[in-house]
Symmetry: C2
Subunit: 150 residues, 2 copies
DNA sequence: CAGCATCCATGACGATACTG
DNA sequence: CAGTATCGTCATGGATGCTG
């Protein structure tokens, strides 16, 4: 999702990485995992999917609800999601036009998987924050007392 | 995860977005979801977690298996994962040193959630690719025949 | 209302060189 | 072996202005 245009394939170096998980080849040849992350790993995709998961919304509604998103990024991200078949765009021929965005069945599937990750984030981020605190503490200590702890 | 240093809090605009999913507030105040995505949405974190999920590995092993990663990014990403408490770093005092990376219990939890998403990617990415093809087709058609379809 | 086009700042990432 | 430091590049994404 670069600025404006779409990248056809994108570069991807060979990651050998065979037989990682309990199943067969996890990303093997062209690594679908990386492809997916390139898509939904951006700043707004998951937020939009999540929001649309709660019901269809219009462009301006989305813009209002996801405060902080520029309409450039909203538009751009929606287009990418539409292109990927995760979000459907329906144009109501009113005047001025009304555009309704909804999650496709395919997008709904992904959303289901994402929600597990999101739930984990909700419950476990405090522990992550705590771990960060401990880490930074250790770093600071080892920096302020490099040789003699006096 | 910027270049070298760590960002303390990072800017985040208020996303109102209350009561999206079936549960309570999904990202509300400081949006743990975005925090998580900022962490694992990068180019290598998930790959590393996945790889370590298959067993503990040394730095050079990781570097070998994830072909395409620079040792700067590998080191940087591992440090971020360690700081977040998702990966553990154990130093074997041999000579020269041996460093073993492993997934922590917390990281293992996340990995479980991630695998669902990864499995979805593995099985559904072909459909995403197909959707992309259809979309691009539509675009090209509407560009080459703007007014009169002859 | 629902966008697209353009400009520009930041920062993610890769390449390279050096270290305990 | 397992890193750190520095530099350059290019993409991500915000701000602004215009359109059907």
């Amino acid at each position: 999702m670069q600025d404006g245009t779409f990248s056809p394939p994108g570069h991807l170096e060979e990651t050998d990485v065979a037989a990682i998980s309990t199943r067969g080849d996890v990303f093997a040849a062209d690594c679908p995992t990386r492809r997916l992350l390139d898509r939904i790993g951006d700043k707004w995709s998951v937020l939009i999917l999540l929001l649309l998961g709660g019901g269809d919304l219009r462009f301006s509604e989305l813009k209002r609800r996801i405060r902080g998103v520029s309409q450039k990024m909203l538009s751009q991200t929606l287009r990418a999601l539409e292109r990927d078949g995760l979000v459907h765009r329906r144009v109501e021929p009113t005047v001025p036009v009304t555009v309704i965005y909804s999650v496709t069945p395919l997008g709904g599937e992904l959303l289901g998987a994402l929600r597990l990750m999101i739930d984990w984030a909700e419950t476990r981020m405090p522990e992550v924050a705590a771990a960060q605190g401990r880490y930074d503490q250790r770093i600071n200590l080892s920096h302020s007392a490099p040789h003699a702890p006096n």
